[in-house]
């Protein structure tokens, strides 16, 4: 029954379904490092998903769509930043407001433009292509898994690497981490705290934008209402595991991708109860978390005991 675990197709879909969560987690990571908490990631993704589709449909250009989607992401994040950093509004309430506005607003615009409450399939919009990587695609198994993914998937991997490098190896990253950990200390060292937070927000916006556009212009080729379906919230959980570290965030997103895909396959290939299967990803993550915690505490104990 679990033979599909051996098939390259399965692993290729794992990578595909990891992508949007990975990008959202990255957005949450950078927020954590800058000492912010953005509940509005879900909504931001949704807005960008629609914005990208509509722009590309009207201009006929993928590039324009991607660009406008990205700018929308930055814009929404800056709106959040304006309220919480300049007007001292409560962070979580503003995040929720963005989510509510996005859920209602996207449907409203969808109806206005496409005449449908559900999706934008009446429009012809562009989408990000799949990319075959020369050489790699010729390697058996590995090529089937790693090559031929969507452009955004590769982009997300590059983002993870860049983001990690930026945070831990550049002055900008050092400043952002300092601001997130001890704002007063950073201010005292002459760092412009506000600027650092807005830079972090801009990056968060970009990551959200690609996460959203992957859904509407990558894995699917049109926008459907509420298509982010909790991935933005899930990313907050992934980030809680990663504590802002993009590499761990990447690993935990992969975990989600794996359990998400396995659910789909189980529905196809097993006679298990459907309800049970749909609970699987969450149970799986729970078990993995317990194991990680167990191992951690064992290591701690070992250390303590060896001290006597």
């Amino acid at each position: 029954m679990l033979q599909f675990l051996m098939s390259p197709n399965f692993w290729a879909s794992v990578l595909a379904s990891t992508t949007p969560v990975l990008l959202a987690t990255l957005a949450a990571n950078i927020m954590t490092k800058a000492g912010l908490f953005n509940l509005g990631i879900e909504g931001t993704m949704l807005i960008c998903a629609l914005g990208g589709v509509l722009t590309s449909a009207f201009t006929g250009s993928l590039l324009m769509g991607a660009l406008v989607g990205m700018l929308l992401g930055i814009f929404v994040s800056f709106v959040l930043g304006y309220f919480i950093l300049m007007m001292n509004a409560p962070m979580n309430a503003c995040g929720v407001a963005i989510n509510l506005a996005a859920t209602g607003g996207t449907v409203f615009i969808l109806v206005m433009i496409c005449g449908s409450k559900n999706n934008s399939s009446s429009l012809v919009s562009s989408f990000f292509p799949s990319v075959n990587i020369p050489l790699l695609q010729n390697i058996p198994v590995l090529g089937q898994i790693l090559s031929g993914q969507n452009f955004v998937t590769y982009l997300s991997w590059i983002f993870v690497a860049l983001c990690y490098y930026m945070l831990y190896h550049t002055k900008l990253g050092l400043n952002i981490r300092a601001v997130g950990e001890n704002e007063e200390a950073a201010r005292s060292a002459g760092i412009n705290v506000l600027a650092m937070k807005f830079i972090a927000l801009a990056l968060c916006g970009v990551f959200c934008a690609f996460g959203g556009m992957y859904l509407s212009m990558g894995s699917m080729h049109f926008f459907t209402a509420g298509m982010v379906s909790g991935r933005g919230f899930l990313s907050l959980a992934m980030d809680a595991i990663a504590q802002g570290n993009p590499l761990i965030g990447c690993a935990s997103s992969f975990l989600y991708g794996f359990s998400d895909t396995i659910t789909v396959y189980l529905q196809l290939y097993s006679q298990l109860d459907l309800q049970l299967i749909s609970a699987f990803p969450y149970l799986f993550i729970l078990v993995v978390l317990i194991i990680i915690q167990f191992v951690r505490s064992r290591i701690e104990k070992k250390k303590q005991q060896s001290q006597i």
């Binding site: 550049t170 002055k171 400043n175 060292a189 002459g190």
Partner: protein, 509 residues
């Protein structure tokens, strides 16, 4: 000669209407060490933060080398050659010494240069004769090293005017001596230093001139040579304060806290406690003396359940609490004033009121666990008044209080929790002379009520004037237990034990 730094009619009103500085005039000559003294909440830190661009100026002027300046952020102040070491550490704990050193320094390169930064840090440390470990993370550093790092940080930024806000409050007497040596060297190199302290002895020892602040106003500038400690104290608080207490003679009857054969190794595998045993009884104050780093803070952390002992037992009122949680031992009747008030003494962004009830919130709740906020308010207003905590209202975030007033609020909370064992780690750190004598009288009052008090302090005077017995720790062991009731122990004798020159045979405490 033109003063290097001068302020004219400087006034600061905080949001919420607190008048912290009113029409301050004062000037600092180039190359002097200028002390700034005043009671808790007199406005010393506020004045300094304005000079460093961390707080905005409400009205008035600042002149640096005769030129009027306005600072929008500390960056502007740094550019004018002003550097400040704050009352509470301004370091990022998870970063290394070198990374903290380079934080915010404008560089040409976008990327961090780990090796180069470490090298630069070591170079500057060597240049000024400061010993620090550039590669260690700040959270693993001792307070002494953190303080040195703070000073190096501002020197590296090219500061010529150094503002040090209570740098010695967290230092041991030995570290203070060392710091003073360094400060004198800096003075010889032509630096100007503004130095804040509540310890008048230090002020007398190191400064050239003294400016007194009282209730946000200047109370005059004096040449240090012209005034005595008593005079300074009178100018500050309006009366002379003595630390000679007449203690009632009390006879302990029962045992409250017993520690048996404790061993503890820290994460660097250094043996911090090597078999510590003692008993604390009721109606007594048991002092703990020792050069910093000889296991006192580890001992406290193990007793208060922050660290777990590798071996040994802790009994609280006869009950084994070696592996109990912090909540359990507090419920069992133990109160604790931690050494670092900002780190684990209070929740900085929360209000004074909330901070004052956090450790015994259950006593304000009814059966259904609903908190009675009227009672909370009454209680905190009562404490604010009794302990003379200067705050605009009980709803102020506690971090907006002056350092000494935060300490007083924490002391108030722990003393009113109704526990019968009190662990006090540097209870009078950073509070002014008036408040010190108040806290001391409170400690004696608690003793009179039958409580057992374990007092750790770097201030030998404090230990000698309060304790019934004094334990001396050296290299993780108790090397002496001195009776302080019949005849006062002398500082010299204490010193000999602390340095490990003398040890008692077969100490039993």
């Amino acid at each position: 000669m033109e003063p290097i730094l001068e302020v004219r009619n400087l006034t600061k009103i905080y949001e919420g209407g607190v008048l912290a500085n009113h029409q301050i005039n004062f000037s600092v000559e180039e190359g002097e060490i200028h002390a700034l003294v005043g009671e808790n909440g007199a406005g010393k830190s506020t004045l300094m933060k304005m000079l460093y661009g961390m707080e905005s100026v409400t009205s008035g002027q600042i002149f640096v080398r005769g030129k009027e300046v306005t600072f929008h952020s500390s960056k502007d102040a740094i550019a004018e050659g002003i550097g400040m070491v704050h009352q509470h550490f301004m370091l990022v704990d998870s970063l290394t010494g070198a990374e903290n050193m380079m934080l915010g320094v404008e560089g040409t390169c976008f990327f961090t240069d780990r090796k180069g930064d470490i090298k630069k840090t070591q170079e500057i440390a060597a240049q000024y004769n400061f010993e620090i470990d550039a590669e260690r993370r700040v959270r693993d550093m001792s307070v002494g090293m953190k303080q040195k790092l703070e000073i190096l940080k501002i020197l590296y930024r090219g500061a010529k005017i150094l503002i040090l806000d209570e740098p010695t409050a967290v230092l041991t007497p030995q570290e203070t001596e060392e710091l003073f040596e360094r400060l004198k060297e800096l003075k010889e190199k032509g630096m100007t230093i503004i130095f804040i302290s509540h310890k008048l002895k230090e002020v007398k020892q190191i400064s050239d001139r003294i400016t007194i602040l009282k209730g946000g106003r200047t109370g005059g500038t004096y040449r240090t040579a012209d005034v005595t400690e008593e005079e300074i104290s009178r100018l500050m608080v309006g009366r002379v304060i003595s630390f000679d207490y007449d203690k009632q003679k009390l006879k302990p009857e029962k045992e409250l806290l017993r520690v048996e054969d404790l061993y503890y190794k820290d994460k660097f595998q250094v043996m911090k406690l090597g078999g510590v045993s003692f008993t604390l009884r009721d109606k007594e104050i048991l002092g703990v003396a020792g050069v910093d780093g000889n296991g006192q803070s580890e001992l406290i952390s193990v007793i208060t359940a922050e660290f777990r002992a590798n071996r040994g037992k802790v009994y609280l009122k006869g009950k084994d609490v070696t592996n109990a949680s912090i909540g359990e031992i507090r419920a069992e009747g133990l109160s604790y004033i931690p050494e670092d008030r900002m780190l684990n003494g209070c929740a900085a962004p929360m209000s004074v009121e909330e901070n004052m009830i956090v450790s015994n919130i259950d006593s304000f709740a009814n059966k259904a666990k609903m908190v009675n906020f009227r009672k909370v308010k009454e209680h905190s207003l009562h404490l604010i008044q009794e302990f003379n905590v200067k705050t605009a209202s009980e709803k102020q975030p506690i971090k907006s209080l002056s350092g000494g007033n935060i300490q007083k609020a924490i002391v108030a909370r722990e003393f009113s929790a109704g526990s019968d064992v009190l662990i006090l780690d540097q209870p009078t750190r950073g509070v002014d002379v008036g408040a010190i004598s108040f806290i001391h009288s409170k400690i004696l009052e608690m003793r009179g009520e039958g409580n057992g008090i374990l007092l750790v302090s770097a201030d030998l005077n404090e230990l000698i004037s309060l304790s019934d017995r004094i334990l001396v720790m050296h290299k993780g062991k108790i090397v002496a237990c001195l009776d302080n009731t019949k005849e006062k122990v002398s500082e010299e004798e204490l010193g000999l034990y602390m340095l490990g020159i003398k040890t008692q045979e077969g100490v039993s405490a």
